[in-house]
Amino acid sequence: MRTLRSLLMFGFAITLRAAAANEAPAAESYDSCVGDINTVPTVITTGGTWCLRHNVLTNATNTRAVDIRTNNVTIDCNGFRLADAQAGPSTMSIGITANGPYSNIAVRNCTIIGFNFGIFIASNPGGGHVIENNLLSFNRSAGIRVDGAASIVRHNTVANTGGQPGSSNGIGIVVNGSVDVIDNVVDGIAGDGSVAFTAYGITAGDNLSTGSLIRGNRVRDLTPSGSGSSAIGILVYSNGAWVRDNLIGQQTSTNGIGISCGAETRVRDNIVKNYTQGLAGQCDNDTGNVTY
């Protein structure tokens, strides 16, 4: 009942948002758009800014709604929705993806709802991606995933991630490579209840990457469930990452780790609340971290 009521309230708010978004175009400009995304799935093979001019909906259960296959592409949703809401929690679809050696992909001003991954940019080699000013909601495995050097994920809101049937984990934001994760909100990660579920807010880096900056993010309301499960606010693998000025809080005492560090991670000025362990792993606790 509680979940249903939450969904209803969120749905109501999203409806409000859609109504507002449908009135938005008068204030927007499409001058710089090289093309429009009117239906999905669509494959982008030409560089430039590709725009949404209205909400784009699908109920596909295994598709790449917007599939980028070239460099230098910006997807600008202009505040409109790209939604897979009718596909249900088992969907394996991806909202916006680039899977190949592509560089300089940008995704901005999008509301992406109900996919398995909201945004999935996997480039190796490749990089220089910017994911900014998006809302990712009710995506089933992860809100945002970005692999690629010299990339930035900033100013996004990732809400209510998880629920893939039988999945043992869900993640708000995943980055691999030297990716900076700055000023995002991750709020709400939960499983479907069928198996033990570990909730991750942000996971960053791999053994090859260097010096990611994880700064100013707010990670809240992770819901682990089942025996042995836990919540991990920020999990860093990146060699020499810098984790600072993040707020990682739970409403009630939660089994898990606020910040879990890989090799030589510097940690400063973070606030961690209601985790059984504030910092763990190889965190170098520099100064100003508060756990309570």
Binding site: S32, G48, A149, T210
Partner: protein, 304 residues
């Protein structure tokens, strides 16, 4: 608790309503463009906002693609690319060039494959000392694979911010590249410099992430180098050091920068000349943290 949760969800959704309203990067309008850059090379001699509205590919080796010859000009690429990769590593062209003029802005560009991505110099010519122009702004742009430097901008009251500069270097005969060159009092804020290298034919490389400040110490005063991430300066040979940030000036603050190498690297993370306050910087894998005693450690710097 339940009410609180509901309010949180509602607040999230309502906050989402505000995203389009913020309009920080909404699709661009051409309404304010005074002209369009549809072909290069081009000379801009009228102030105002000049816009790209398509991908521009060229192969210039000695001519600058966009030559600005008057004050108060904005180049807005609207997310389009200015691509000079076809010219090869031997090019001496700049993507956007301006000399001896003021208030030049470059934004929303991807500029690739030039000797300089931007060369905005407040001096009238290369041999002239002294600063005649000011107020430049380079922001929200990408500079991949430029052959010597991604961004060069100098002049009083100038700012370089929120850019991504990647894979800079490779000009023939040059033993190193520079991600960002910011002569004189230029604020360099929240940029990413990732990957700088030299010409493969040279035996030793001396690469630099950000070069800030000026030869004239008296004029290079009171600027700020903050929040930049400098990574992956390639090392070749042992003759020359790699330098993360080189800062010259008086009353300068270098703060909250991340200067990191994946592997141990011979070089200086911070090279200071004049009087430079440094605080809250993270430095990883450089053989020497500071060079010169002019780096005034104000606390919070960590090198490991």
């Amino acid at each position: 608790m339940r009410t609180h949760r509901h309010l949180t969800i509602l607040a999230l959704a309502l906050a989402a309503l505000c995203i389009p309203a913020s309009g920080a990067s909404a699709a661009s309008s051409y309404d304010s463009c005074v002209g369009f850059i549809d072909i290069v090379p081009i000379v801009i001699s009228t102030p105002g906002k000049w816009c790209l509205r398509q991908y521009l590919r060229t192969n210039l080796t000695a001519t600058n693609a966009i030559e600005v010859q008057t004050n108060n000009v904005t180049i807005d690429c609207n997310g389009f690319m200015l691509d000079n990769q076809a010219a090869g590593p031997g090019t001496y062209s700049a993507g956007v060039s301006a000399r001896g003029v003021s208030n030049i802005t470059v934004r929303n560009c991807t500029i690739e494959g030039f000797y300089y991505g931007t060369f905005i110099s407040s001096a009238e010519s290369a041999g002239v000392r002294g600063l005649l122009g000011s107020g430049h702004l380079v922001e929200n742009s990408r500079f991949p694979q430029n052959r010597y430097a991604g961004i060069h901008a100098d002049g009083f009251g100038s700012v370089i911010r929120d850019n991504i500069v990647t894979n800079t270097g490779g000009a023939p005969g040059w033993g190193g590249g520079v991600g960002i060159v910011a002569w004189a009092p230029v604020d360099v804020i929240d940029n990413v410099v990732d990957g700088v290298f030299g010409d493969n034919q040279t035996a030793d490389w001396e690469n630099m992430g950000i070069l800030a400040g000026g030869l004239e110490l008296t004029v290079a005063a009171g600027f700020h180098v903050r929040g930049n991430r400098v990574r992956n300066l390639a090392q070749k040979g042992t003759r020359w050091p790699q330098v993360g940030l080189s800062v010259t000036g008086y009353g300068v603050t270098v703060q909250d920068n991340l200067i990191a190498q994946h592997d141990p690297t011979s070089g200086y993370a911070l090279l200071c000349r004049g009087q430079v306050d440094i605080r809250g910087n993270i430095i990883k894998n450089y053989s020497q943290t500071f060079y010169d005693q002019k780096c005034d450690d104000q606390g919070g710097n960590i090198a490991y």
